[in-house]
Amino acid sequence: MTKTALEQPSAAARPSPLSAHLRRLEAESIAIIREVAAEFAHPVMLYSIGKDSGVMLHLAAKAFYPSKLPFPLLHVDTTWKFRDMIRHRDQIAERYGVKLLVYVNEEGLARGVNPIASGSSLHTQVMKTEALKKALDTFGFDAAFGGARRDEEKSRAKERVFSFRAAGHVWDPRNQRPELWRLYNTKIRQGESIRVFPLSNWTELDIWEYTRAENIPVVPLYFAAPRPVVNRGGLLIMRDDDRLPLLPGEAEEIRKVRFRSLGCYPLSAAIESNAETLDDIIAEMRASRTSERQGRLIDTDEAASMEKKKREGYF
C-alpha cells in the first residue's frame, strides 16, 4: 500500500462484511449505474423511499465516490404516503447530499383523485403512472433508474436491465432489444427514453442482507411496533391519518405490525410481526411462506395487472 492512500481517508474506512454473493451483486449494480451517468444527458433516479430505493441510492453513492451523484433523485408523491416515509425521504436527501425533486400531479389532485374514493386502479394510474410520465417529460429526463427487481413479479422477470421506452414512455414487452453480455445498448432518439434497473438480479433477501451489512437507514415502518390498524377484508390497513374513514362495523385497533412493502398507506397492508431489528426481519423472511407483493392492493386488481401498468409507463 502506498503512503498516499493512507493519507487520504475515505468516507467509511471499515472492514466490509459483505459476502461474495453480495459483493458480486454490488459490483454489477455499480457498473450499471455508472453506465447511465456516462451515456445519458439527463438521467434521474426514481426514489420511492422504500428499502430497494435505499439500497439503490447507497450503490449510487458508491459508484461515483469521491464525486457526488451526477443526477438528482425524483420522488413522485401521491400525497398518500405514510408520514414516516416523507420524513425519511427528507433526511436521506440531506444525508447523501443529493438533489431531491418532488413531483405531485396537481391536475389529478385538483380532480380529487384519491385511493379511497377513486379506487386503487385510477389512483395509481393518475397519481403514479401519469404523474411519473409528466415529471419525466417536464424535466426532460432521458434515462430513469428504478429499483425494481426481477424476483418481485413475473413480468418484471422478463424485463431488460436497460429497458427501452418509445416516445410516450410505453413498454413493448414483445419487442425488447436483445441484451447480450454487459453490452447495454444506450442509444435512443429524441423523445425516447430508457428505464434502468440496477437491482434486477437482487432478491428481497439480498436487499435486507445488504441493508444490514451496509447499515443503510430504512423507514421505521419496516420494523414491528404497535400501530393503529383496521382489519379490512382480512388485510390490516394502518390509519396513518384521519383521511381513511372507518366503514360500518370497523374499529381501529392497536396491533404489533410491520410492512414488507411500502406504498400509499391505504393500499399497503401490514403484517403482524415481532421483527424489531434487521436480524429479526431477515429471520422472519427466511421462514416466510408468502411473497412481499401480497400486501400490495394494486396488484391483485386484475390478472397481469403489473404488465399492463408497465406497458402504460409505470415503473
Binding site: A13, E35, P66
Partner: protein, 624 residues
C-alpha cells in the same frame, strides 16, 4: 482497509451458477424451471394459489398445475402457451445460488435465446423424448457453443410419455452426441427427465431404475464452471472519468479480468501511453489490490489522456489493437445484414462505427457446414471480416468474453441488430503510435465510415432535381451516412440573399455554392446540391474545386414541355407572360452536360427508380 480477497464466511458465500434452458418449441423448458422453483421451495403460498388459478384459466395441462405459468409471465405468452422472451429467475439450495434464464424455443425469438445464453456458464438443452433431436435443438446447441458455454446437460424430457424407456433415451442421446461432437463442449451429461412430474429433476425417479446418473439438481450443484478470471491478463475498460474537483482525476470501471495493485505499471491499450497506478479508490476505502469483477476507481501517477472506452492493462499483457478482425456474427434483425453498410459497434465501453467488409461464410446450423452467402438474414450466423473506424483493443472471445464480444446497432433505428464474437485480429493497427495529431479530411472521413462527395443535380426548373435529391438524402441518412442538402431555398435566403438572376449573379451564386460544398466535403459529408446551374463552365468550376472522383454530376434530363406542364410553382406561366426575366429555357439558355456521371429520365422511370440508379452508382464507386 480490507484486502480484496478476504472473504468473511457467511451463509451466502456460496458459489453462483448462471445457466439457461434451451431447445425446441414446447420441449418443456419453462415447465422445468417452474418445477425446479417449486421443488426447491421457492414458490410462496400466495404465488402457488395464483398458479392454481392461472392453470385453470391458461393451463395446457388440464386439471393439473402448469408449472410453465410460473415463468411465462407475459400476457401474450400465457395466452399462446409459449415463451417469447427470456425470463430470469433465481433460486438457491444449500450448496449453490442459481440465476436461470428460461429462453424461448421458437426460431423467431432466437435473439432472446442468445440474450439468455450470453451471460450463462452452463446450459440445459431439452429434447422432447417423442420428437428427438430437431433443427432448433441443433441451432441452440451451436449458439451455446459459440457463446462460450462449455458444460451442457442434454435433458431428454417427457420421458413419461415414452413409457420411461431406456431405449428411447439412448437412441436420442446417441443422435445428439453424433451432432454435438463437433461443437467442442467440455462435457455433455445426458439425463432422462419428466419436467411435469419431477422425475430426475430434484429427486431420483422411481420410474427409471435403469438410470444411475445424477439428477438435474445434482449436476447443477456440482458442475465446475469456474474460470479464474483474476488469473487472466488485466483488462480494465474505463467506464466513466471521475472528476469531482481539479485535484482528483480517477478512472471508474470494472476489472473484467486480471488484477491490479498500486505501483503496477499500466498502459492504455490504444495509445500505448504508460503510467503507474497510484490508488485504487472505493467508497469503503482504498484497496491494496483489485481483482476481476470488482468495480473500482483507479488514479494514476501521471496526467495521461484517458477517456471512456479506453482499456487500461498491464504493460506486460497488452491486448491486440486493431481496426480489422474476423468474428462470428449472429444476425438479430428482420432487415438483413449488408456488407459495407455502416453500423454502430459497441465493444466494451466504446461505441465505434463499423462495417462488415466480407461475409466469409454462413453456417448451416443443421449440418454445421459452411455456406456461401452475401447477406445474413434474421437468426443466421456468419463468419465475417469486420472493420472499425478507429482501432480498438480486442481479445479473442474464447480468451475473454468482455473484450471479445460486441453488438451492432442500426444507426437509424438504434435497434440492436447483431451480436459478434471475435476470433482473431486481421492486422495490427498502424496508427497506435501516430505522431501527427492534426485532424484532416481523411481523419474526419474515417470516423464517419464513408467518403465525402458532391452530388450535383442539374436540370431545368421543375425537372425533379429536389424530389430525387430528397429521396436520396433520406436513404443515405437511414444508412448512417452524413449528408447535407444545398439548394436555392436554403442559400438564396441567407448567404446569397444579395444575388439576383442575371448571368453574373447566377455565376456568383454557383461559385459560392461550390465553395460551401467544398467545406462540407472537407468535413467528410456527402453534399447534395440541386441547382438549375445552366452553364457548363460553372459546373466545371465547381468540379475542379473538388478532389478527383468527388464531384458527381447528375443530369435530370426532363424535356421542357414536361417541366412546363408540371410547372409546380407557376413560374413558367409567369415567365411566358414576361413577368419573370432571364428564366432558364424561356429567355435564358440551358447548356446540357456533355459528360455527366449520371443522366436520369425520371419522367419515364419515376423518381424512385432514378434515385435507385444514383445509389447504385454511389455503391459501385464505393462512396457509400
Amino acid at each position: 482497509m480490507r484486502a480484496a480477497t478476504q472473504e468473511i464466511p457467511n451463509a451466502s458465500s456460496k458459489s453462483l451458477l448462471r445457466f439457461l434452458t434451451c431447445g425446441s418449441v414446447d420441449d418443456g423448458k419453462s415447465t422445468l424451471i417452474g418445477r425446479l422453483l417449486y421443488d426447491t421451495k421457492l414458490i410462496f403460498d400466495d404465488q402457488l394459489a395464483t398458479l392454481e388459478k392461472d392453470s385453470k384459466k391458461h393451463g395446457t395441462t388440464g386439471e393439473e398445475i402448469d408449472f410453465a405459468l410460473l415463468v411465462d409471465g407475459l400476457e401474450a405468452e400465457r395466452e399462446q402457451g409459449i415463451t417469447i422472451d427470456v425470463a430470469y429467475r433465481f433460486f438457491t439450495t444449500d450448496k449453490r445460488s442459481f440465476i436461470v434464464a428460461d429462453t424461448p424455443g421458437h426460431e423467431q425469438y432466437t435473439r432472446n435465446m442468445a440474450t439468455g445464453a450470453s451471460n450463462s456458464d452452463a446450459a440445459v438443452i431439452l429434447i422432447d423424448a417423442r420428437k428427438g433431436v430437431l433443427t432448433q435443438t441443433k441451432r441452440h446447441s451451436y449458439i451455446c457453443a459459440l457463446l462460450g458455454i462449455r458444460h451442457v446437460v442434454v435433458a431428454v424430457n417427457k420421458i413419461d410419455l415414452m413409457g420411461h424407456s431406456s431405449q428411447v433415451f439412448e437412441r436420442i442421446v446417441e443422435d445428439y452426441l453424433a451432432f454435438a461432437a463437433a461443437l467442442g463442449f467440455a462435457s455433455i451429461t445426458p439425463i432422462p427427465i419428466s419436467a411435469r412430474y419431477g422425475d430426475n429433476v430434484t429427486v431420483r425417479s422411481a420410474n427409471m431404475a435403469w438410470y444411475d446418473g445424477p439428477t438435474l439438481l445434482d449436476w447443477l450443484e456440482s458442475v465446475d464452471v469456474d474460470t479464474d478470471l483474476a488469473a487472466k491478463p488485466l483488462r480494465f475498460p474505463v467506464q466513466w472519468v471521475n472528476r469531482p474537483n481539479l485535484d482528483f482525476r480517477g478512472f471508474s470501471g470494472t476489472l473484467v479480468s486480471g488484477a491490479v495493485r498500486p505501483g503496477d505499471k499500466v498502459v492504455v491499450a490504444s495509445s500505448a501511453k504508460e503510467s503507474r497506478v497510484k490508488r485504487i479508490v472505493t467508497y469503503d476505502g482504498d484497496l491494496a489490490e483489485a481483482r476481476a469483477g470488482e468495480a473500482v476507481t483507479l488514479t494514476l501517477e501521471d496526467e495521461i489522456d484517458i477517456a471512456r472506452g479506453d482499456v487500461i492493462t498491464l504493460s506486460t499483457e497488452r491486448p491486440e489493437v486493431t481496426d480489422q478482425f474476423a468474428a462470428h456474427v449472429l444476425w438479430m434483425a428482420d432487415e438483413a445484414m449488408l456488407p459495407e453498410r455502416q453500423y454502430l459497434m459497441r465493444i466494451g465501453c466504446r461505441y465505434v462505427p463499423a462495417r462488415i467488409t466480407a461475409l466469409k461464410h454462413k453456417v448451416d446450423v443443421n449440418t454445421l457446414q459452411h455456406l456461401a452467402g452475401k447477406t445474413l438474414e434474421l437468426n443466421e450466423i456468419g463468419f465475417c471480416n469486420v472493420s472499425t473506424a478507429t482501432a480498438v483493443a480486442i481479445d479473442p472471445y474464447v480468451d475473454n468474453r468482455d473484450t471479445g464480444a460486441f453488438i451492432l446497432i442500426d444507426r437509424f433505428t438504434n435497434a440492436t441488430v447483431g451480436a459478434g464474437m471475435i476470433d482473431f485480429g486481421l492486422r495490427r493497427a498502424t496508427n497506435v503510435h501516430r505522431q501527427d495529431l492534426s485532424v484532416n479530411k481523411a481523419a474526419r472521413s474515417r470516423i464517419k465510415g464513408h467518403k465525402p462527395a458532391v452530388l450535383w443535380f442539374t436540370g431545368l426548373s421543375g425537372s425533379g432535381k429536389s424530389t430525387i435529391a430528397n429521396i436520396i438524402e433520406q436513404k443515405l441518412n437511414a444508412r448512417g451516412i452524413h449528408t447535407y442538402m444545398l439548394d436555392g431555398d436554403n442559400l438564396r435566403h441567407g448567404l446569397n440573399r444579395d444575388l439576383g438572376f442575371t448571368d453574373a449573379d447566377r455565376v456568383e451564386n454557383i461559385r459560392r455554392v461550390g465553395e460551401v460544398a467544398k467545406l462540407f466535403t472537407d468535413a467528410g459529408v456527402v453534399v447534395l446540391c440541386s441547382f438549375i446551374s445552366p452553364f457548363r463552365a460553372e459546373r466545371r468550376m465547381v468540379r475542379e474545386l473538388m478532389a478527383e472522383g468527388e464531384f458527381i454530376e447528375i443530369f435530370v434530363d426532363t424535356p421542357i414541355e414536361e417541366c412546363m406542364r408540371r410547372d409546380p410553382k407557376g413560374l413558367y406561366a409567369r415567365a411566358k407572360e414576361g413577368k419573370i426575366k432571364n428564366f432558364t429555357g424561356i429567355d435564358s439558355p440551358y447548356e446540357p452536360p456533355e459528360q455527366a456521371e449520371i443522366t436520369v429520365h425520371s419522367h419515364h422511370t419515376g423518381a424512385e427508380a432514378a434515385a435507385a440508379r444514383i445509389l447504385d452508382y454511389l455503391e459501385a464507386s464505393s462512396v457509400v
